[in-house]
């Protein structure tokens, strides 16, 4: 009786062992991490990243998986919320790299999170592509960190050039958040570029506030009094409407110009007519788009009910870049460290990648060379392509 029991157990164990997937062909799943601010200060940015990623995944799934070296692999997205906080972004990267074994990471979007998160990705030798971070520190001396957009130092002179050519002004004011990497970096670069053009002291008011401030009246009163002809404010969509409205209430009549952080669809939604006719530099403009860019915009709009902002477009390009790099690496060995290194090497070699936000070639630092777009918010509240400016 006992022998029979033992026999049955052994037989069952064998049956189980051979039927389990471990013994059949080992299946490797390619995991791509998305590190995005789903909650916190800029949730709309997180939403755009997620939606773009889902569209990308849909394409991959439609094709039956991602083909690498003649073999199709299943792709899985790991979406982590960084709460728009630096600490959480670092934690999210850590988790995706060490627990989820992702092959590459797309995100975080803002420099505030991308700079510290890039440190982790580089340390653990995992490719990270930040679609939206324009701070030089994100990719500086980090062979594993790339970005999908141009840099802050590039936007500063572009905006300064644009204002000078378009309006012929010589006196500018700057209002920025001193507690946030992106606006602070951009404000400094703009000031340097403007003063190089128009001489020292041509930035007649250089005012700041801190994150979460809602009242800018004393700064704006100073700016109005300074005699500035144009106001440059590289802020986010939650502050731009307040700044624009309060400036008008305090008697500001000149144009207000911003940077790509204005590009979120919510800026106009929250700001309304007060923002019509203003300009900002950006990576892409939805109105007036053609070709693959238009195809992406139409598809996104159809699926999610609103026109994608630049974050969504750049996230799409970053995922396409990651895809290209994985395919170029030729082979998935299943040994994650080796595969990550191979993806990094092929990503660095990509030339003239045709993205929907422009053609890209990576520099040594992992920054792409591409053009900037000057966008005008038209009278229907749409972001309209106004001018292109290349380096």
């Amino acid at each position: 009786m006992r022998k029979i029991t033992v026999l049955i157990i052994v037989a069952l164990a064998f049956a189980l062992a051979f039927s389990s997937p471990a013994f059949s062909a080992r299946k490797t799943v390619i995991k791509i991490g998305i590190n995005a601010p789903m909650t916190g200060d800029i949730p709309k940015v997180g939403e755009g990243s997620k939606y773009a990623a889902l569209l990308w995944l849909e394409d991959i799934e439609k094709a039956g998986g991602l083909e690498v070296g003649g073999k199709k692999y299943e792709v899985e997205l790991v979406i982590e919320d960084n709460e728009s906080k630096a600490e959480s972004a670092v934690k999210a990267n850590m988790k995706m790299i060490t627990q989820d074994d992702v092959l590459a990471i797309v995100g975080p979007q803002s420099s505030k999170q991308a700079v510290p998160a890039g440190e982790v990705a580089n340390k653990y030798k995992t490719v990270m592509i930040s679609p939206w971070s324009t701070n030089p520190a994100t990719t500086m001396d980090r062979p594993y960190v790339f970005r999908g957009c141009f840099l802050d130092p590039f936007q500063g002179p572009v905006v300064a050039n644009f204002i000078t050519e378009e309006f012929g002004y010589t006196k500018a004011a700057v209002l920025y958040d001193v507690a946030s990497d992106y606006p602070k970096g951009l404000a400094e670069v703009f000031k340097a570029a403007w003063e190089k053009k128009h001489g020292a002291g041509s930035v007649v008011a250089y005012e700041s506030f801190t994150t979460k401030d809602t009242d800018f009246s004393s700064q704006l009163t100073k700016i109005v009094k300074s005699g500035a002809q144009v106001l440059f404010t590289p802020q986010y969509y939650n502050e731009v409407p307040l700044i624009v409205q309060q400036a008008k209430d305090l008697g500001w009549k000149g144009p207000i110009v911003g940077s790509d952080s204005w590009g979120s669809a919510e800026t106009v939604e929250l700001c309304g007519e007060a923002c019509y006719g203003l300009y900002f530099s950006s990576h892409y403009a939805a109105a007036g788009a053609k070709g693959a860019t238009k195809a992406f915009i139409d598809r996104y709009t159809e699926n999610y009910g609103y026109i994608p902002d630049d974050v969504a477009a750049l996230t799409w390009d970053a995922l396409k870049l990651a895809q290209q790099a994985i395919q170029d690496s030729g082979k998935i060995t299943g040994r994650i460290e080796k595969d990550r290194a191979a993806v990094r090497d092929s990503l660095a070699k990509i030339k003239n990648f045709a993205g929907i936000t422009g053609n890209m070639t990576f520099t040594e630092e992992g920054d792409p060379i591409k053009c900037a777009v000057i966008v005008k918010i038209n009278d229907n509240g749409e972001y309209e392509f106004y001018k292109s400016s290349c380096p």
Partner: protein, 311 residues
């Protein structure tokens, strides 16, 4: 001469700016002081009660505008929004007292103090889950009109904010000085052990105090929504802390002090940013307040006995 006039205009412009900012600090900090007067503890959830009040105001304003915008005059809709929001928000205050503070009334003070922080976090995350993290734009209840008076830019919104805040404080003053309920509240803040023996229950006065504070905060919220029309679930944190600073600066438990200190805080913030580089604003502004407290540790109108008792 012309330069002098320009300077005076510049200063007056900033006085207006400071009055608007200070109005919010004043009305909100009163909520801290009232609760302190009765319960001898600070309601750290007050900033978030302000936030919830703003969201309620947002909901009511949106509803009323959708229902009545065509045939009722604007000021009437505004008034109705204020009254209904005040009423609803005061129940939030009652809820905080009953759910958060009452069960811990005999607990150590530190436990009661952190209750407020926890309720605040519950409110923040609750709103986050309920409405999502999307920013909301407060609908304008009055059309913003800009005036230029003697070189100074004014908007009707600014003027209304300043006037309503002053009226609210006057109404509160009357309530506390002239009504029976107000007298009970004053008595409670004088001696919260003996007064219940006289038949005035702390379980009536405490929720009433929370309700009045929350109602005030909700009106401040509606006005805030007119001046800074972007709502997010964490909007109450910073302004709550600053109003708390004003409450301490004014003297714990002193409503008059809280109101004055609220305006003072507004003036300090605005004028520091006017005189010094704005980067240094908070550093200098709060150093000044630290200095004031060093020389007047009880604040401006702090009562002798209130410093002896706990927290």
């Amino acid at each position: 001469m012309e330069a002098l006039i320009e300077l005076v205009q510049y200063i007056l412009q900033n006085v207006i700016n400071a009055l608007q900012r200070g109005s919010f600090y004043a009305v909100i900090s009163i909520g801290y002081s009232m609760v302190y007067g009765v319960l001898m503890l600070f309601n750290f959830a007050h900033g978030d009660i302000f936030m919830v009040g703003t969201y309620i105001g947002f909901g009511i304003a949106t509803l009323f505008l959708a229902l009545f915008a065509g045939f009722l005059p604007g000021p009437l809709i505004f008034l109705a929004t204020v009254i209904v929001t005040m009423f609803l928000a005061s129940w939030v205050g009652v809820f905080v007292e009953v759910a958060g503070y009452r069960p811990l009334r005999s607990a150590p003070r530190a436990s009661a103090a952190i209750t407020g922080l926890m309720i605040g976090i519950i409110f923040e995350t609750g709103i986050l889950i309920l409405l999502g993290a999307k920013r909301l734009s407060f609908p304008p209840l009055m059309e913003s009109v800009s005036y230029k008076v003697w070189g100074i830019y004014l908007t009707n919104v600014k003027v209304i904010i300043i006037i309503i805040s002053l009226l609210l404080m006057l109404a509160l003053h009357t309530f506390i000085q002239k009504t029976k309920w107000g007298m009970a509240m004053r008595a409670m803040s004088y001696d919260f052990l003996a007064v219940p023996l006289m038949g005035v229950s702390i379980n009536v006065i405490a929720p009433l105090t929370f309700a009045v504070g929350a109602g005030l905060a909700a009106v401040a919220g509606i006005l805030y929504g007119q001046a800074y029309p972007i709502l997010d679930p964490y909007m109450g944190v910073i302004i709550g802390w600053k109003a708390f600073v004003a409450a301490i600066l004014g003297g714990r438990g002193s409503i008059k002090g809280a109101a004055l200190a609220g305006y003072l805080l507004g003036f300090i913030e605005i004028f520091v940013a006017t005189i010094f580089p704005s980067t240094l604003r908070d550093l200098i502004a709060y150093s000044i307040i630290l200095l004031i407290l060093t020389y007047r540790p009880r604040g401006f109108f702090g009562m002798e006995h209130s410093t002896k008792l706990r927290l």
